[in-house]
Subunit: 186 residues, 2 copies
DNA sequence: GCTTGCTATGCAACGAGGTGCATAGCAAGA
DNA sequence: TCTTGCTATGCACCTCGTTGCATAGCAAGC
């Protein structure tokens, strides 16, 4: 299971509370991994029991207190072991692809609205990623700048998200063109 | 849940047994949806109870008998309803992306072998899809051929798979180039 | 006759993930 | 004062998916 490791990576990038992690999983980490706050709290509790993370109570003014988690040595070791172990390339699950093949047995053209909606979502995600890239990685900065692994690797993952969204938009246009050919001649 | 509907679509394309469905889910359907034979048998049994599918015992020579499932009227209705309902664009889960960001806190270059392995898998999948496309959709055939929804929609989904694998290979090359810059200067 | 291997179906148990709900601190505005 | 809303944490329950195991028919080879 990789949720453990996704949380460890996020905590290594920056320690934080379960609540903060949940919000990160709606943004940056959430680009390639999703989790609800329930899963996060549960996993944090388990990892705390296993000594993978340390907890620190933090009093805040104007807000409820929080528990700040950070990665313990055992957590680093566990992450290292996971990084060294091979994983299977993901098994994809595309509901939309099932719908498209299923539409052959219904009215293909009636899917057009749904596909347009998905195209819109991917367009928004792409714009969001591009804005994030400009904000966080926009400046070419002076060359010969020392290599910063965290930054470079976050950037290449973001470029993956951008490539994915561009591919999806292009493909959804292909789908829309195909569906349009089945439009009832009204 | 869309496994129900993926099975219904597959049975509409061609009735078959749980075992046959399981093999389809290792191939064509499996390009965008995975399922083990356990899940398939369980769902078939439930759908039979709900009257979504019909069963027929088929004796075979040289092999054990099988149960052939086909979609019943109630199943068609359920599929139609699902097709008409909006679904949320998929939430992605990329273990490899977690690994890449995590590698910043370990040895980035040690990931190169793993990424190459993934690239190899995607290259093979692409070759497999392209061969399938040539086999099943290769002939331009006479134009003005009547539109065949099932065929056209299967093709557009396959084109999505091809676009996805091409995007992944390109991105993994980007990843490899990035990781190479962290190689220990030995 | 025995083993191997593919076809074909299924149970039991577990873990992961999601939904709904509950609690509580604190600020801001009606 | 009461409600609304964000921050913050957590329990209970249920479903989905995976793993391991079991059974059985039948063919082919040793």
């Amino acid at each position: 299971m990789a949720l453990d490791h996704a949380i460890l990576v996020s905590l290594l990038e920056k320690p934080g509370s379960g609540y903060e992690l949940a919000r990160r999983f709606e943004r940056s980490i959430g680009y390639f991994w999703t989790a609800t706050h329930q899963q996060i709290y549960r996993v944090l509790k388990r990892m705390e029991g296993d000594g993978w993370v340390d907890v620190r109570d933090v009093a805040q003014q104007g807000r409820p207190d929080k528990k700040e988690y950070s990665v313990a040595e055992a957590g680093r070791v566990a992450l290292s072991a996971w990084l060294a172990a091979p994983i299977e390339p993901e098994s994809v699950r595309h509901d939309l692809a099932v719908k498209i093949r299923g539409a052959a047995f219904d009215d293909p053209a009636s899917l057009i609205g749904e596909v347009r909606r998905h195209r819109q979502v991917h367009t928004e995600r792409l714009a969001h990623y591009l804005a994030g890239e400009k904000r966080d990685f926009g400046e070419p900065s002076d060359r010969d700048e020392p290599l910063h692994a965290e930054r470079e690797l976050q950037h290449v993952v973001l470029r993956g998200g951008i490539a994915y969204e561009r591919m999806m938009i292009t493909w959804l246009d292909d789908v829309l063109g195909t569906l349009a050919r089945f439009e009832t001649g009204r």
